[in-house]
């Protein structure tokens, strides 16, 4: 009996503590970012902070629910869950409600639910399920294509709903695939493509072509043994230059103006002061406001509920995507570094647990959890601090919103449940 109990509560408490820290601190910042003057009632559901408190309350119900299922349930029903998520996404085209140009919500009374937040854990489960299948070999192209298809379908559906930000999150599965045996060449190619794209946009085609030539030339002459033929080198060079040109063309003609401007701001491409001035009031407005708010926090910040920019709601979307600017302003360098640290620790902890799993399903899923959290964390905070072009995705556990909070909670706690069960795995 004692053993039974011990086993039941063998959850990884460190992860849970980190999770609670993020949710709690997140709530304080939402309170700051959304209150209008006096806070009369913390449960006032006409206010965002009141709603968030309800969401957090429901989250604990959700956690109990998730933990009370058998661990095997998730593996067994992974495909079903995935299909339900896909159906939910598709249903949006019929019943979805459009907010800010994205058709991503179901409206149930006054509440809205965003299925794309739930599709993440569903996809992670499906990917884990597929990869952990004994038949699957990630080294083969066939399986690679199939597993890519698993993430491609929800990603495409979300993109069609005009939510480009959430689509990018699905790239995080690359880390999972790589961990599970994807060839190194993919990593090299991916990195090269990113570098080529940035080079082409920032420095133009001539510089990019020269750089390709030099790198490939060096490689050709330094590698005397097992050298591929010059034709192959020329082919690679051609593809590289072609790709760069394609990126440039796509940037100039394929992107919407606001997307183009975001990239232009990020890479500091625009030199015309008049256009820059206009961008400052437009695409760069959020960024400038949030950078100023963060900067004004200094070492220790202005104090809880004391942020002048937060109180004045200078940063649009400050309770959702830009919540980190409130942390920066009110809690300063110490507070914001703390948040960064807690995220890094949480992700590392999940990674560590994933590696220690005996079942491949648990490991792959854990890896998926870590990757998804990591991509959200990186893109969101990077964007708020002006390191990454503006992409609208929430900061896990922090940003206001029920769907997001629940989506991430389910994502994390399924893994905690799986982890607690590893003692039974053989």
């Amino acid at each position: 009996m004692l053993r039974e109990n011990q086993r039941r509560f063998k959850f990884d408490w460190l992860t849970i503590i980190l999770f609670l820290l993020l949710v709690g601190f997140g709530y304080l910042n939402i309170l700051s970012a959304s209150h209008d003057g006096d806070i009369v009632n913390y449960f006032d559901t006409s206010q965002l902070y009141g709603k968030q408190l309800i969401f957090i309350g429901l989250t604990f119900v959700l956690i109990v629910l998730i933990l009370s299922f058998e661990a095997k349930f998730y593996e067994r029903f992974a495909s079903i869950i995935y299909l339900v998520a896909l159906l939910a996404l598709m249903g949006l085209f019929l019943f979805g409600k459009e907010i800010n140009g994205a058709r991503s919500w179901y409206a149930i009374g006054s509440m809205t639910l965003q299925p794309s937040e739930f599709a993440k854990f569903a996809t992670a489960l499906a990917v884990a399920k597929y990869i952990s299948d004994l038949q699957t070999n990630m080294q083969t192209l066939k399986d690679q294509l199939r597993v890519v298809a698993i993430i491609f379908v929800p990603a495409l559906l979300i993109l069609l709903q005009n939510d480009a930000g959430s689509t990018i999150v699905y790239l995080s599965f690359f880390f999972v695939f790589y961990r599970e045996g994807l060839q190194q060449i993919y990593l090299i190619v991916a990195l090269s493509l990113i570098i080529l794209a940035v080079l082409a946009l920032k420095f133009g085609m001539v510089t990019t072509a020269m750089a390709c030539l030099i790198v490939l030339g060096l490689r050709y002459f330094l590698r005397k043994k097992k050298r591929a033929s010059i034709l192959q080198y020329l082919l690679v060079l051609g593809v590289a230059i072609g790709f760069s040109y394609g990126v440039k063309l796509f940037y100039e003609h394929g992107l919407k103006v606001h997307q183009q401007n975001r990239i232009s701001l990020w890479l500091r491409l625009e030199k015309d002061p008049v256009k820059l001035e206009r961008m400052k009031k437009d695409e760069a407005y959020n960024l400038i406001q949030s950078e100023q708010a963060i900067s004004s926090g200094g070492l220790t910040g202005k104090g809880f509920l004391q942020g002048t920019r937060t109180t004045g709601k200078f940063v649009p979307e400050q309770e959702t995507d830009y919540i980190f600017s409130t942390v920066g302003e009110e809690w300063g360098f110490l507070g914001s570094s703390f948040v960064v640290l807690v995220f890094v620790l949480l992700i590392i902890r999940v990674l560590y647990l994933a590696e220690s799993q005996k079942s491949q399903f648990s490991r792959v899923y854990g890896y998926g959890v870590a990757s998804i959290l990591f991509v959200h964390f990186t893109i969101n905070i990077g964007m708020v601090m002006g390191l990454i072009p503006t992409v609208g995705i929430p900061l896990p556990f922090f940003s206001y919103g029920g769907s997001g909070l629940w989506g991430f909670t389910i994502l994390l706690f399924i893994f905690i449940k799986l982890d607690s069960n590893k003692i039974n795995e053989w």
Binding site: F314, V344, I381
Partner: protein, 646 residues
């Protein structure tokens, strides 16, 4: 290896983020300053500026409200041409002005308020106020402007004007558009008159809408009203002095010897202080400032350094008595001058030989040349003699700043041995080189206020109070440096013969035409040669007329120095004006109407035109007195009648 990719990436991203946070929040050196915070609107509440009263309680300077249109360029919404037209019409500016002013403000700072159109009149304000909310980024700031209750004393009262950027850089209290004392007592007593402005911090939202007080108003302050001050000026005497100075250039300074209080401080030409109030201030100021011939902003009572001439002889007499080198009865002969070597210092015809009394009232150059030599030759070297003499002279407040509470001043000059060492080489000069000092020429320079102070020190028989303009500050005491006497190096007993000599100047000497029945005046005439460079030729102009006096002889109530540029000999203009001022102050009315008529009737404008006429001209003896028209003369009499009687 495969396990490490995500791990290292996570750690790397974490480090990059913390580095970025460090860069933004700490390296940026950002210290939170609520004044820099654009999310907080700062609303200033300007206190009442203190009033200025004269010594008889007459209100001289009060306040009037004024309204500045301020702009915060960043918040300005572009106006369509209709709105622009209307806005420009309301402000009475052109569209070009609008663009220019907006650009200027933007250049200063896009986010800090700058004055856009300062100092609207009440009627303009009333019309504009209703429509103001249509123009985003603009608002009206109420301020308080000066309202002068008088037309006199511009040089005494001074004025206030907008702070410039260098003042803001030095004194962060001031913000662009704030007003500060620029001249006169407004400048010296700025801190007292100004008070402290109150400030309200208001939290804004991103639509620039006020959403409530910042930190529940904990940081807000109430304005502290400026304190009223009473100045030592007697506004009637000041008005009368300015009237006498009409059509002349020069300075009058009158001091109450028993306290050092400045009773009048006239500089001619003067101007109406109301010119420097309101929207036309800069235009009017420029006109005054650019008048490089009459120099109305140059306070001749305080800033003009002239050779003091004969009044200076009284000091030499005092020094000689103190040093014991002459007795009052010792006589020196004068044969129309004093010969030394092959040179001669001229003198006029008078009784000879002269004792001290005669020397003073006849202003005998030869007498004082002898006395001066005795003072110098008492010591082994001319240098020792010179330094000893210099020490005595300086104890009368000459040769250095008086360290008073006036906004401008000049040190004048009293030479020391070092002065001549520099000019001739150490020990390569003799008393004869410096003999001009005996009669107040040579290297000595003094301002009218210093001469008035000197007269006060003689009238007090040996001490003076630093001349000052502040009489009373609401709820404060005036600095002790104005209430502690400064003692001269001359013993009290030596003053009687000199005072007696100055009294005889009026009785039988160079000023015997200026007597006022019933008032014992002691005075000393002076005449100073002066030169101008005309077409690169040094040309002598008509002498400056100088007069120094105090009255009554015992327990004097007033000490005065008058200086009239190119007024010729001392008693002609300066002497008359000094006697009139004394009578006006002591008696309250004028019995010597003849003197008053003379001073009012004759103008010196023609003298001042001479150097610019391009023609050759005569000076001194060859000058004529030119009367003003009868109409102008009657106007001046009318002005005199309008001086309020207390």
């Amino acid at each position: 290896m495969r396990k490490l990719l995500l791990l290292t990436t996570v750690v790397l991203v974490g480090l990059v983020f913390i580095a970025r946070l460090f860069y933004l929040q700490i390296y940026g050196g950002y210290e939170y300053d609520v004044f820099e915070d654009t999310a907080i609107r700062k609303v200033y509440n300007y206190p009442k500026r203190g009033y200025v009263y004269d010594r008889n309680g007459e209100l001289l300077v009060a306040n009037q409200p004024s309204y500045d249109v301020m702009v915060i360029p960043r918040e300005v919404e572009p106006l369509d041409s209709l709105e622009l037209n209307e806005f420009c019409k309301l402000l009475k500016i052109t569209k070009e002005d609008y663009a220019r002013k907006l650009e200027r403000a933007t250049n200063y700072s896009p986010r800090l308020p700058s004055p856009f159109v300062p100092q609207l009149s009440k009627t303009d304000y009333a019309v504009l106020q209703e429509k103001m909310r249509k123009y985003e980024g603009f608002y009206i700031q109420k301020r308080s402007l000066r309202s002068y209750q008088t037309t006199i004393g511009a040089n005494v009262l001074g004025d206030i004007g907008e702070v410039n950027r260098s003042i803001i850089a030095q004194q962060p209290y001031y913000k662009l558009g704030d007003l500060i004392g620029k001249q006169g007592v407004e400048k010296t007593y700025e801190d007292i008159l100004r008070g402290v402005k109150g400030i309200k911090f208001i939290q804004k939202d991103r639509f620039n809408k006020d959403i409530g007080p910042f930190k529940e108003g904990k940081l807000d302050t109430l304005p502290v009203p400026g304190k009223d001050i009473t100045i030592t000026i007697d506004s009637q005497l000041q008005a009368y002095g300015e009237l006498l100075m009409t059509n002349k250039r020069g300075g009058i300074v009158a001091i109450e010897p028993s306290s050092g209080e400045i009773l009048a401080m006239v500089s001619g030409p003067s101007y109406n202080p109301n010119l420097l109030v309101g929207r036309n201030r800069s235009e009017n100021f420029n006109k005054l400032y650019r008048d490089s011939i009459a120099k109305p902003l140059f306070d001749r009572g305080l800033q003009a350094m002239y050779p003091p001439g004969s009044p200076f002889k009284t000091l030499n007499a005092l020094v000689a008595l103190q040093e014991g080198v002459v007795t009052t009865e010792e006589r020196f002969s004068c044969a129309m001058g004093y010969r030394y070597g092959n040179r001669k210092m001229g003198c006029h015809a008078h009784r000879s030989p002269a004792n001290m009394n005669i020397g003073i009232y006849e202003s005998c150059n030869a007498y004082f040349a002898n006395v001066y030599r005795r003072i110098m030759d008492k010591y082994d070297t001319p240098a020792e003699g010179m330094d000893n003499w210099s020490k005595h002279i300086k104890s009368f407040g000459l040769g250095d700043y008086l360290n008073n509470d006036l906004s401008v001043g000049q040190p004048g000059k009293v030479p020391t041995a070092a002065t001549y060492d520099r000019a001739y080489g150490k020990n390569r000069w003799y008393t004869t080189f410096t003999i001009s000092n005996a009669i107040g020429q040579g290297e000595v320079l003094a301002t009218p206020i210093q001469l008035a102070n000197m007269a006060a020190a003689i009238g007090n028989r040996g001490y003076y109070y630093t001349p000052h303009i502040i009489k009373d500050i609401e709820g404060e005491t005036i600095p002790t440096k104005f209430t502690t006497p400064n003692h001269t190096t001359i013993d009290k007993r030596h003053f009687e013969p000199v005072v007696e000599g100055m009294y005889d100047v009026y009785n039988k000497g160079t000023a015997n035409m200026l007597q006022v029945k019933g008032i014992d005046i002691c005075g000393k005439t002076g005449t100073a040669e002066n030169f101008a460079i005309i077409d690169s030729v040094k040309t002598q102009l008509t002498d400056h007329s100088i007069f120094v006096a105090f009255a009554p002889k015992d327990n004097p109530k007033i000490a005065i120095a008058v200086f009239v540029e190119n007024g010729y000999f001392g008693s002609r203009f300066a002497g008359r004006m000094a006697s009139l001022m004394i009578e006006y102050y002591i008696r309250g009315e004028i019995t010597r109407k003849d003197m008053e008529n003379f001073v009012l009737r004759y103008s010196l404008e023609h003298e001042y035109e001479k150097p610019y006429s391009g023609e050759s001209f005569g000076i001194n003896r060859q000058t004529t007195l030119e009367p003003i028209s009868e109409e102008e003369f009657q106007n001046l009499l009318k002005l005199k009648a309008e001086i309020p009687k207390s």
